[in-house]
């Protein structure tokens, strides 16, 4: 029983990071209707960029976040026309081809990372990695590592900024219009190609930044992509595909499931529990917990 508050706090702290794993992915799905099978690989590549920048410049990973975001925003922006060409092709089944294409990209990224970065695990040391925050309440101890708290704050900040951009700016209005109705928004003068490129860039950038955060909390290696792809898929299906307001709740739920399995049961069974929940959701309410998915 004395572990319950710790399990809850851990779940919320981890769940926060999961928001940023899935929110860009869900946004990209809403706008482009593409499932990016390379989502975990973008996280992995971002993490390694953070790792090498940190080695080279000795700056704190949290300070490096904007640089990583910019670099990957640019990569995403430049790669998107190719993705767009695949998913809007006339031949074959474009949605299917989009899936296959990103699957291939993911394989390529994983292979390149294994070649370039090797099989070893690394971590990105942050100045706040060593310290934790202790709470004592009625004989129960709670440990909150600073770095995890910073991760949660980062995730909340990203979510807030994204919310502001989507709700208050013209760009956000265009993005929302595009995800509602592609043709009609085109008639209103929205350039679908350009907006999609920006959205893809934002998605790739957020995923890459999250990789750096993951690197400063856990460890990173070239094979980590699949694990995070599965978490992103889980959250997005639970929240309803393309339904952004559901993402934080689904992420916190995943965080709690994971921390409870870690503390009370065997962590080896986490993946099966995650799949069990995913399966049940697909069986009962395929549009997500809120029934609002696309």
């Amino acid at each position: 029983m004395e572990l319950l508050p710790q399990a809850l706090i851990d779940g919320l702290l981890i769940g926060g990071i999961y928001i940023t794993i899935a929110i860009g992915f869900s946004l990209a799905y809403g706008v482009m209707h593409i499932i990016d099978f390379a989502v975990g690989e973008w996280i992995m590549l971002g993490a390694f960029l953070g790792y090498y920048l940190n080695l080279w410049s000795a700056l704190d990973p949290f300070i490096l976040l904007p640089a990583v975001f910019l670099a990957f925003f640019l990569i995403g922006y430049l790669i998107q026309p190719l993705v767009y060409r695949v998913i809007s092709g006339k031949k074959g089944n474009p949605v299917l081809m989009g899936l296959v294409f990103t699957f291939g990209l993911g394989l390529m990224f994983r292979g390149s990372a294994l070649t370039g970065f090797g099989f070893y695990s690394h971590s990105i040391p942050s100045a706040i990695s060593q310290n934790s925050f202790f709470l004592e309440m009625g004989g129960m101890f709670i440990t909150i590592p600073y770095v995890r708290l910073a991760g949660l704050l980062y995730a909340l900040a990203v979510t807030m900024v994204l919310h502001f951009v989507l709700k208050k700016t013209n760009f956000g209005r265009a993005v929302r219009a595009l995800s509602q109705h592609r043709e009609a928004s085109g008639l209103m003068g929205i350039n679908a190609k350009r907006i999609s490129s920006y959205v893809y860039g934002i998605y790739v950038g957020i995923s890459a930044m999250t990789g750096v955060i993951i690197g400063s909390i856990f460890t990173i290696n070239a094979q980590m992509g699949g694990e995070y792809s599965i978490l992103a898929f889980f959250i997005v299906v639970l929240a309803g595909m393309g339904y952004l307001p559901g993402v934080p709740w689904a992420s916190f739920l995943l965080g709690l499931v994971q921390s409870f399995f870690l503390i009370y049961l065997n962590p080896s069974y986490t993946l099966m529990a995650v799949f069990g929940i995913l399966f049940t959701i697909l069986l009962i309410s395929p549009k997500g917990l809120f029934g609002r998915g696309v």
């Binding site: 499932i35 099978f37 190719l82 060409r85 695949v86 092709g89 031949k91 074959g92 089944n93 949605v95 299917l96 081809m97 899936l99 296959v100 294409f101 699957f103 291939g104 990209l105 993911g106 394989l107 390529m108 990224f109 994983r110 292979g111 390149s112 294994l114 070649t115 699949g226 792809s229 599965i230 898929f233 889980f234 299906v237 595909m241 065997n266 080896s268 069974y269 993946l271 099966m272 995650v274 799949f275 995913l278 399966f279 697909l282 069986l283 395929p286």
Partner: protein, 326 residues
């Protein structure tokens, strides 16, 4: 027509005679494994090419079949041929369980769910005790290359013939294609899309389970990484997409090309094994961009347009690519 059958009989004769021509076990082994990959690629394509549902966990069925046979032979002492129907049955059960909730939905959900299921099952096999966990399982060795060659040939040939009959000759193929093109209109014609998709999924999963069973007995050692890892699915996907989705011969050609390349690559450049992943990814991404119909689809569409220009008036030329190629 009769020339076509003659060629077919000749081809079958050559295939049957291979073990007496190829004396070297090494090469016989390569041919046998090539058959296995043909089987995996065409069985993947049944679902992906004909119904438009991408199964990113095809390795599940292969692995489940391999593990069923190993467990039955090791722990229950069954003979190999008795385990084959059980492996097929277990693969079918897994397919039904995974298919019922997801095949009702759009393809993206199915792709995600099968991908997640593959990892969940791998995890399950790693932690379970009766599967040997990460150490894998050993099977009683049976060193008879010819036996495995013929078993693989019969199974893959049977699967090919069955798919050819069901998808290109029987009404089932038309139903499946109707659902791929537009499941709303197919429904209005009285078809039950979920049921037909589930049947196609079974047609795709069961052969993979049987191939897995044969592989386990042939290689005599299996572990989660070799039979349930991503590599089985990844290669089957690349072979089918590169060869041409929605045809029978395309994935088979893709399988032979990719498999021979892989064998050559691993034999001569074994220091650069991870490069193979990059090449697989590159081949798949490039064939999506440049050869959306795959190698075979591109060849036949050239041939067709050539023929059409020569023999038919342009007005009656149809643009569809749905002509059955065997």
């Amino acid at each position: 027509m009769s020339r076509k059958y003659l060629l077919l009989i000749l081809f079958c004769g050559i295939l049957l005679a291979v073990p007496s021509i190829v004396r070297d076990t090494f090469y016989l082994r390569i041919v046998t494994e090539a058959f296995m990959w043909i089987g995996l690629a065409i069985s993947w394509d049944v679902l992906a090419g004909y119904t438009g549902y991408l199964n990113f966990g095809h390795g599940i069925f292969f692995g489940v079949g391999a593990y069923t046979t190993s467990i039955l032979m090791n722990l229950c002492g069954w003979s190999f041929f008795m385990t084959l129907p059980v492996s097929a049955l277990v693969a079918a059960v897994v397919a039904v369980i995974a298919g019922i909730p997801t095949l009702r939905l759009k393809g993206a959900y199915f792709a995600i769910a099968t991908w997640a299921l593959a990892r969940a099952i791998q995890q399950m096999v790693l932690v379970a005790s009766f599967t040997g966990g990460p150490d894998g399982m050993r099977l009683p060795p049976f060193l008879h290359p010819g036996f495995f060659y013929y078993t693989m040939l019969i199974v893959v040939g049977g699967v090919f013939a069955l798919n050819w009959f069901l998808l290109e000759k029987a009404p089932f193929g038309l139903k499946v294609k109707a659902i791929r093109e537009d499941d709303q209109s197919a429904m209005s014609l009285g078809l039950n899309p979920t049921k037909i998709k589930l049947q196609a999924f079974l047609l795709s999963a069961v052969p993979a389970g049987i191939l897995g069973a044969i592989y386990a007995y042939w290689i005599t050692y299996i572990d989660p990484a070799s039979v349930l890892g991503d590599m089985v699915t990844d290669q089957a996907v690349v072979m089918a997409v590169f060869g041409g989705l929605g045809t029978l011969i395309g994935p088979a050609i893709g399988a032979v090309i990719i498999f021979l390349f892989k064998t050559y690559f691993w034999a001569y450049l074994s220091d650069y094994q991870v490069l193979y992943l990059i090449i697989l990814g590159g081949v798949i991404a490039a064939s999506v961009v440049f050869l959306p119909n795959g190698l075979w689809g591109t060849i036949t569409s050239y041939r067709q347009s050539d023929k059409a220009l020569k023999h038919e008036p342009v007005s009656s030329r149809s643009d569809d690519k749905g002509d059955p190629h065997v």
